[in-house]
Symmetry: C2
Subunit: 217 residues, 2 copies
């Protein structure tokens, strides 16, 4: 099959019969993970939809870009200046969970296990990608901790070297404050079979074993 | 892994912090082959782009849907009433290539080997999907053949049972006309290794073997 691809290479540029269609295909294929073929498929699908549905599609995208803002407290995506979580009095505002991105907020909200607030860093420290502490919202976090009289900061970053570096940086920065600092529990995933867990995860989950509780699962 | 998925099922509905974002994710996830996760990825990507780029994206989609038409001769997608191919005097208008969809027009144009015109059927006869001859543009094809004084009609439909049925139907319908009827050559794909070709294809390619020409590849 390699030979086949090689033999035909450069012959796969479609010639569009419509400039407007070509335009849409180009727009779609700029999206992450979308190639020209998928883009064409999506454009032809939209061509078969009602005018109203397509107008709604296009306008939803434009409206989102122009109206969605970052919450001025936690930097989460929001339709209003202060997001629903930060403006909810039932939430524990003394508890701040530090995450990398808005996707992680969704993931944690999805667990229904957390009732504090968030702080979106906007990334992790990564010298390889040229991201330093100043590119993240660490200063805003410190300021907020004072304003909210924070009691606990949960570091919920990725379990990667960059995540660990960022954890370390934040921990050192906050070492003089009285706030309690914690990280997510690392261990075997729920539903995973033990034999497939990697050595380091399994090792940590033995070191950090917890008292067995009948209703604690 | 099955157990894991089962165990966690129903817990994977993201909670969006922005209604406008949720709206766009829903719009994207209606596109073919796009799930909620990919849709979210695309929406977050667009949020990071310039306002102008996003406006251009949304408007391109709306404009395509409202302005693209089907060519009144060949039913191909076009920005104008008559498409570029049908209005090109250098094209051989006595030669009509019958295809299933606009995608096939692109595929054949892409070969740079064809200089006639097209006729897009809009599908193939498929009793399973409830598509009969009346749902296709076969009558328009007959009418056009008269107007263009067609000399040859090339049936370039899929090599499936539905494609063959449609070929047969068109052939019977045109049997009294003087027009020459041909079908695409079936045989081993260029670049394919013989051992991987299926029996029927290989069998046909032996039956329909052609004189060897030094420059004919």
């Amino acid at each position: 099959m390699y030979a086949k691809k090689h033999y035909l290479c450069g012959m796969n540029q479609p010639l569009y019969s419509s400039g407007l269609l070509e335009n849409v295909v180009n727009e779609f294929s700029r999206l992450p993970g979308i190639g020209k073929k998928t883009a064409l498929r999506m454009a032809l699908y939209l061509l078969k939809q009602d005018m109203d549905a397509v107008r709604q599609f296009g306008e939803a995208v434009i409206r989102m870009r122009s109206e969605v803002v970052y919450c001025k407290h936690c930097m989460n995506l929001s339709d209003t200046e202060v997001c629903d979580i930060c403006s909810d009095p039932r939430r524990d505002h003394t508890l701040i969970c530090v995450v990398e991105s808005v996707r992680d907020v969704m993931a944690i909200e999805n667990t229904l296990q957390y009732h504090g607030t968030y702080h979106v860093l906007g990334g992790v420290i990564s010298p390889m990608e040229g991201i330093g502490p100043a590119d993240l919202t660490i200063d805003a976090l410190e300021k907020r901790m004072g304003e909210n009289r924070a009691e606990e900061v949960i570091l919920a970053l990725s379990a990667t070297m960059e995540g660990d570096t960022t954890n370390f940086y934040i921990a050192r920065k906050l070492k003089d404050s009285a706030v309690k600092l914690s990280v997510l529990a690392r261990g075997v995933s729920v539903g995973d079979e033990l034999e497939y867990a990697d050595q380091i995860t399994l090792g940590r989950s033995i070191l950090h074993r917890q008292p067995f509780e009948i209703n604690g699962m």
